[in-house]
Symmetry: C2
Subunit: 210 residues, 2 copies
């Protein structure tokens, strides 16, 4: 499916933003929106918006603008968000525990099926209904249930979780550990995020503008 | 300080990643690294790495590579991370409570000084030593203490916190609410993030590759 892989990363980033803005508009019972107004709310110009949305195949109706509901649905479908995804967690840490308790992620269709640890004192715990297994047991779990994405929240040994997740065939990783990871394997995708990374972009901005 | 503002957003994103990778290397007691090796760990090629680092002014020594410690220090300084930053929180929610308890952010030099709410039942609480004030009181707080960044974690009315924060002169906002916000004011910077946005990039990838 080369078509999808060729979508530039920045375009993908913007499409995800459009989806969130449309979601907020729908919650406010707004039924239609002009491309100028939608673009403004998304921080882009309307030419950029229309170009990005041409990937999705929804171009709106001239003079009427976009139907919020149908554009949101088409975007959701394009982004793989009309289906549910099964997640596993690697490493019990404060952010890991937070995610296991998150109702937002479940509401959005992301379900944690199991958590994994290497530290004996954590193994066997049940956190908000999710069992913490020994990382050695990952093979049994991936045989028993479909696992789509791995979320790495280990603070001290994130690389062990990454290696083991990839060995067992996971192809999509959200890495929330302090160490960013990369792969040159085009069949694997790793997203890296920490709150401190996001705040560093702000600290650079403030330092430069003061 | 136009020089800083002209740094492309993607370059900034990569510099933040380099800093995190160097931090992980330092923790592993690695003292020096070649640009090829560093580039690989950061998911870029070494020409890109050298180009990005030329903004920082640290070009390494030919044949020796980079000193991890000194490159990390120079990057930290360039990114405004050698100083401490005062944060306020807007809206008590699960992610807000998580951040108020985060030891990682304090360790990185980001300190929550106060939290704000509009819901009476939340006002007056003290969460991990941080007081929750009525949003109406923001002016008193910004007069009493230096506030650098606002972190919006309100789930239901994030726009009220954004407006009030900007009215009181905040210029750097991390928005973790479900609704992304933008501004065309070059003196203000807003970073938007939710876990669901990060997972959507993975769902798109999996949908396209299956």
């Amino acid at each position: 499916m080369a078509k999808f892989k060729e979508l530039p990363e920045n375009t993908l980033h913007r499409l995800v933003i459009y989806l969130n803005v449309l979601d907020a508009l729908e919650k406010k019972k707004i039924e239609s929106i002009s491309s100028d107004d939608l673009a403004k709310r998304c921080g882009v110009n309307s030419a950029q918006l229309r170009k990005d949305l041409s990937f999705v195949g929804n171009l709106g109706t001239k003079g009427v603008g976009y139907s919020v509901k149908s554009l949101k649905y088409n975007l959701k479908k394009f982004l793989g968000r009309t289906q549910e995804w099964n997640l596993i967690l690697g490493g019990i840490s404060p952010v890991g525990e937070f995610l296991l308790h998150s109702k937002d992620l479940q509401r959005e269709g992301f379900y944690f099926m199991a958590a994994f640890e290497t530290r004996p004192e954590e193994i066997g715990k049940i956190i908000n209904g999710v069992s913490v297994y020994n990382l050695d047991q990952l093979g049994y779990v991936t045989k028993a249930i479909k696992v789509d994405m791995g979320v790495i929240t280990s603070e001290d040994k994130p690389e062990i979780f990454l290696e083991t997740f990839l060995q067992h065939g996971l192809k999509a990783i959200l890495n929330l550990s302090p160490t960013p990871f990369y792969t040159d394997n085009p069949d694997i995708k790793i997203e890296n995020f920490t709150f401190s990374m996001a705040l560093t972009k702000l600290s650079f901005f403030l330092k430069g503008s003061s």
